[in-house]
Structures are given as structure tokens and as C-alpha cells.
């Protein structure tokens, strides 16, 4: 499978200006950064690694998927959910503030094969890279018929669903509390989609959602690619901090999310180990 990513393209680390900042829902922020290099190089599924302060506390950079690029303006967007200290700093940043940003990082999504329709399954903030992917799949030279599913807890968390649905040919919005769209879990609405058949499925969201999506795709024999998250140190493959367990024998047991991912073929991921890690006890 071919990748959107030009493997020879470099990565950058530089002071970058926040040029637009909009709170799009309670706890959700759309951030746009001025950085022609990253805007030109970034492909769907890649991420940026943002240093949220110029001091050394909080220490580590924070990773965020690229949600879209504006090549004319030389800017790119990130959709961020406020979680802890780092995202709080970004949430309070005024436009005009500079942040040192590394990117684009990671492998990005592989291009789907020419056969069949494409299903995108987003859970919560996982919609961000899928918006970028859906947009790319509607560019003339990559054109595919795209069916989007987007599940979240509440209406607020179904954040940027308009952007997502606008880039899909079909769209299904689902909330756990039924406050908008259909009620339930996004994975409840996947079986009919898989029965209709598809060339390929891409998913991004909470780990347990991805595990369920992967299982359904395996049963339906539909290729499935997932973008996963993990605590990161370096973001460039040097520290081996960000691994996930892989179905492989012995010493090949782990792969790096930052470099070998964040997109993985769902078949190679050891979902059983991930499930164990996600639930206490």
C-alpha cells in the first residue's frame, strides 16, 4: 500500500505562531498555526509535537494530530480537547503566541486501495486526523466514496461534526446520551456498515473503541487501520517510550507509536494486551 507521506520529506522544529484560536465547544479548541513547512509537508494521520512552554515545566512536548492544512496561507490546524496542564496552557493561549512545534511526525495513513468504499470511524477527539483524511480522499486524484461514523459522549463532544460530515459522502453521528444524532456507541452502528462491504476502514478514538472496531473488521475481513495514542517522549523514535504491543514473537513485541505509527494495521496490534492495560485489576 502506498502512503500519503513522502518519506524523503524532512521534519522541522521551530518557533511557530498561533494565528487563530477558537473555542469550538466547551473544552474543545481549534488552533491554527503559521508554519509553511509543516503545512506543505503534513499528510493525514501525521502529528505535531508541541512545546507548550519555554520553561522546563511541564517538561515534555504534547502530541496532536494535524486536522487540516491551508497550503496557500502556510498554516495548519489542530483540534484539541482540554485534558490536563499542557492542554490547559494551549487553551489559554492568545493568538499571536509562539510555540516551538516539531513536525510533521509519524507515518500517516496509507492510501486505500482503488477498490471499494472507505469507512471512517471517529471516536471523540479522534475525529481530528479523520477530518484531514476525509478531505484528502475527496481530492480529485485520491477520490474515494467515504462513509463517516462519528461517536462521542454528548453533543459537545461531537465536536467539529459539521467539518467531518461535510468531507464525507455519507455520515452518521452518534452520542452516548442521545443528545444529538443516534443514541449508543459508535461500534453499535458499525455492523450494518461492514455488511454493506467496504474496501478499507480507518479509525481513530479511545483504545477500547479501536479494539472493538478491529475485531469487527477482522470478522468482516475488511482491512482496518487505526491511529493510536501513547505517552510520548521524543516523538522521533529515539527514546522507545511510546510503544504499543504487537502480535510478534519475542523481541519484536513492541512498536513505536511516534515512528512506526501512529497509524497501524489493526491486525498486527495485540488488542488483548491493550484491553488488559486499559482496565484496572
Amino acid at each position: 500500500m502506498v502512503s500519503f507521506v513522502d518519506e524523503t520529506a524532512g521534519m522541522y522544529a521551530q518557533p511557530t505562531q498561533l494565528i487563530r484560536h477558537e473555542q469550538v465547544a466547551p473544552g474543545y479548541h481549534l488552533l491554527e498555526f503559521d508554519c509553511p513547512q509543516i503545512a506543505a509537508a503534513a499528510r493525514p494521520g501525521q502529528f505535531v509535537h508541541i512545546r507548550v512552554t519555554s520553561s522546563w515545566e511541564p517538561l515534555l512536548r504534547r502530541p496532536f494530530s494535524v486536522m487540516g492544512t491551508n497550503k496557500e496561507e502556510g498554516s495548519f490546524q489542530v483540534l484539541m480537547r482540554t485534558v490536563g496542564e499542557g492542554t490547559q496552557i494551549l487553551a489559554e493561549a492568545q493568538s499571536g503566541t509562539e510555540f516551538n512545534i516539531m513536525g510533521p511526525l509519524g507515518n500517516g495513513f496509507a492510501l486505500p486501495g482503488p477498490e471499494g468504499e472507505v469507512i471512517l470511524v471517529a471516536g471523540g477527539i479522534g475525529v481530528a486526523p479523520l477530518i484531514f483524511l476525509a478531505t484528502a480522499l475527496h481530492e480529485p486524484n485520491n477520490y474515494r466514496y467515504v462513509r463517516g461514523l462519528f461517536g462521542a459522549r454528548t453533543e459537545d463532544d461531537l465536536c467539529c461534526w459539521l467539518e467531518f460530515s461535510g468531507a464525507c459522502d455519507e455520515f452518521n453521528g452518534i452520542t452516548e446520551d442521545g443528545s444529538v444524532g443516534e443514541q449508543g456507541l459508535v461500534t453499535d452502528f458499525l455492523p450494518p456498515q461492514l455488511e454493506r462491504g467496504a474496501g478499507c476502514l480507518y479509525a481513530c478514538g479511545p483504545a477500547l473503541m479501536l479494539a472493538e472496531v478491529a475485531k469487527q473488521c477482522q470478522d468482516a475481513e475488511i482491512p482496518c487501520y487505526v491511529s493510536v495514542e501513547q505517552q510520548m517522549g521524543c516523538g522521533v523514535g529515539a527514546c522507545l517510550g511510546c510503544v504499543i504491543p504487537i502480535h510478534a514473537s519475542g523481541t519484536q513485541r513492541y512498536q513505536r507509536v511516534c515512528k512506526d505509527g501512529p497509524v497501524f494495521d489493526a491486525q498486527i496490534v495485540d488488542w488483548e494486551a491493550i484491553r488488559r492495560g486499559c482496565t484496572p485489576g
Binding site: G10, L60, M232, C234, C242, T251, R253, Y254, G277
Partner: protein, 315 residues
């Protein structure tokens, strides 16, 4: 007036380093990961990620987490093994044109000896760094570095099979760091690296369990700098070996603390993750510091803070 020339070079265990700023083992991969971002030829040298005799898968995730001014890691020495290291990693490392210090660890004295033997036959290795201090593996690792008898034994055994300069990397998780440093010297080490990470842990209170799958991990970053400086200070006073100081270095000022405490060189670790070009910046700023303070040779600052200490001061 042109700025005066400053000599940044230092001699360490028979190596001539263009400057005293290295990157620390496990924080710079195998040299190539940062190639897009860093002018690697400026570095004083690279300590590579610990390599073991056999390939190792490492620990399950989560392997890292953030702490106040620091981070925990429990990588568990994931590495492809020495054979793959020599065949696949060394060719690129060798191209970088800076001294390559290969860091090794074993589960037994025999492991260290075999590693040293194989690496001694490999061209372009500047020195071996013996990791006696990894807190994140079940067997070997820190075991060696917290007992002076074992420290001496490992170093002495490796000393017999290699002519490469030997650097013993010590664990800070000990009552008496000087005793361990002396043991490494007695075993025949040419230099000491200190410190490795402090054994530590965090708990995820929402899930009521350790944050790292390995339960404990190693604390690194600015948080540990004062402990590291103290250990360098103590060992420099007592053990007549050059020291590579590390632990939380983020700036030339930090590096100078280690040098004035007695380190001949320093290594930058965790800070690479945050600012990949940090080592270059430190090298430039060290040069400026020497220019501004009229220090002709950075080596003149090694241990310089030992000569004076008086009392009663106001800030």
C-alpha cells in the same frame, strides 16, 4: 575587538573531544533519529542506547510518564542485540564523524565480557560505557551498580578483554556513591559516568495503580540535577578519574555546574526530547561564557568550585 579564542576541547580517558558536550545513552537513539533536526557533527560525542548480547523486547507500555520537572521511564533496555547493532546501527553512526561511545549492559559478568569482545573488533568505537545502573530490568542492570564488589568485578573482567577506554556508568540509588566510584576505579575504569536515573514511581489515582506497567521507573530531567551535581562533587573529590556528568542538564549554566563540580564532560539526556538542538545551544553558550569571563580553556573550569567555600553570604 574580536572575541578571544576559546578552547572547548577536553581529554577524557584517552579520547580527545572537540567539546565537552555529549548526548546521553537512551535519549538520542542510534544517532540518526535526530539527523533532520540536529547538526550532529557539532556534538562532543554520542552515547548510544544500551545494547545487550541478545535482542530485548523491553517492558510493556506505558513506559514513560511526566513528573514535576522530570519524567519516569521504564524502557527495559529494548534493543536489537549486539550483532544487529554492529551490522545495522554502526555503519550510520560511523558516518556521523563524532566519537561514538557504545553503552552496554549484561545480566552476568560473562555477558559484559562477550559484549566488550565483540565491540572491540568493530571499527570506530571510541569507548565503551558500562551501564551498571539500569533500574528497569529484572536481572542485571542496577544490581551491578549498587554493590561495589560487583562493580569492581565487572569492570575488571571487561578490562581484561578490551583496549577500548572503559567508562563505568554508576547508579545514584546507593548510600555511598564514592565507594562505588572507587570500586570502578579499582576494577580499571578509565572514566565514570554519573548519574543514571533515580528509582521512582507514580500512581494513577483514577485507576488506583502504578502509572508505568513496570511499576517503577527511572526519574530523569531537571528535577534530579541537584542530586547529580552532589554526586559528581563527592566522587570528583575522592576518585582520581575523569567524570562525565549528567542529570537534568538543559543549559550551559547547568553544564557549568557539573564541570565546576568536577566533571570533565557532560551528557544531555531528557532535554533532547524537548529541544533537540539543546546540545548545540549549550556548546555555543559555553563558548560565550568562557569569552565573557576570560576563560581560555574550558578545561580550566573542571572542579573549579572545589577550591573555595566560605560562609555567611547574602545573595
Amino acid at each position: 575587538m574580536a572575541a578571544p579564542q576559546v578552547d572547548l576541547s577536553v581529554e577524557l580517558a584517552g579520547l580527545s573531544l572537540a567539546n565537552p558536550v555529549l548526548v546521553a545513552s537512551g535519549t538520542f537513539g542510534y544517532g540518526t533519529e535526530y539527523a533532520d533536526l540536529v547538526n550532529i557533527s557539532r556534538l562532543g560525542g554520542i552515547c548510544t542506547k544500551t545494547v545487550t548480547l541478545e535482542p530485548r523486547a523491553g517492558n510493556p507500555p506505558p513506559r514513560i510518564c511526566e513528573t514535576p520537572a522530570g519524567m519516569l521511564n521504564a524502557i527495559g533496555l529494548q534493543n536489537p542485540g549486539v550483532d544487529v547493532f554492529i551490522s545495522e546501527k554502526m555503519p550510520a553512526l560511523r558516518e556521523l564523524g563524532v566519537p561514538i561511545i557504545v553503552n552496554i549492559a549484561g545480566e552476568s559478568v560473562a555477558d559484559y565480557v562477550s559484549l566488550a569482545e565483540r565491540l572491540s573488533d568493530c571499527a570506530d568505537i571510541a569507548a565503551l560505557e558500562l551501564n551498571l545502573s539500569c533500574p528497569n530490568v529484572k536481572r542485571g542492570g542496577m544490581e551491578f551498580g549498587i554493590r561495589s564488589e560487583l562493580t569492581k568485578q565487572v569492570v575488571a573482567a571487561v578490562r581484561e578483554v578490551t583496549k577500548l577506554p572503559l567508562i563505568a556508568k554508576l547508579s545514584p540509588n546507593v548510600t555511598n556513591i564514592v565507594g562505588i566510584g572507587e570500586a570502578a576505579r579499582d576494577g580499571g575504569a578509565d572514566a565514570l559516568s554519573l548519574i543514571n536515573t533515580l528509582l521512582a514511581m507514580s500512581i494513577d489515582i483514577d485507576r488506583c495503580r502504578p502509572l508505568l506497567a513496570n511499576v517503577t521507573g527511572g526519574l530523569s530531567g531537571p528535577a534530579i540535577r541537584p542530586v547529580a551535581v552532589r554526586m559528581v562533587w563527592e566522587v570528583a573529590q575522592a576518585v582520581d578519574l575523569p567524570i562525565i556528568g549528567m542529570g537534568g542538564i538543559t543549559s550551559a549554566a547547568d553544564a557549568l555546574e557539573f564541570i565546576m563540580a568536577g566533571a570533565t564532560a557532560v551528557a544531555v539526556g531528557t532535554a533532547n526530547f524537548v529541544e533537540p538542538t539543546v546540545a548545540e545551544r549549550i556548546i555555543n553558550d559555553l563558548e560565550s561564557f568562557c569569552q565573557q569571563t576570560g576563560v581560555a580553556h574550558v578545561a580550566d573550569l573542571i572542579g573549579a568550585a572545589h577550591s573555595s567555600s566560605d560562609a555567611g553570604g547574602l545573595p
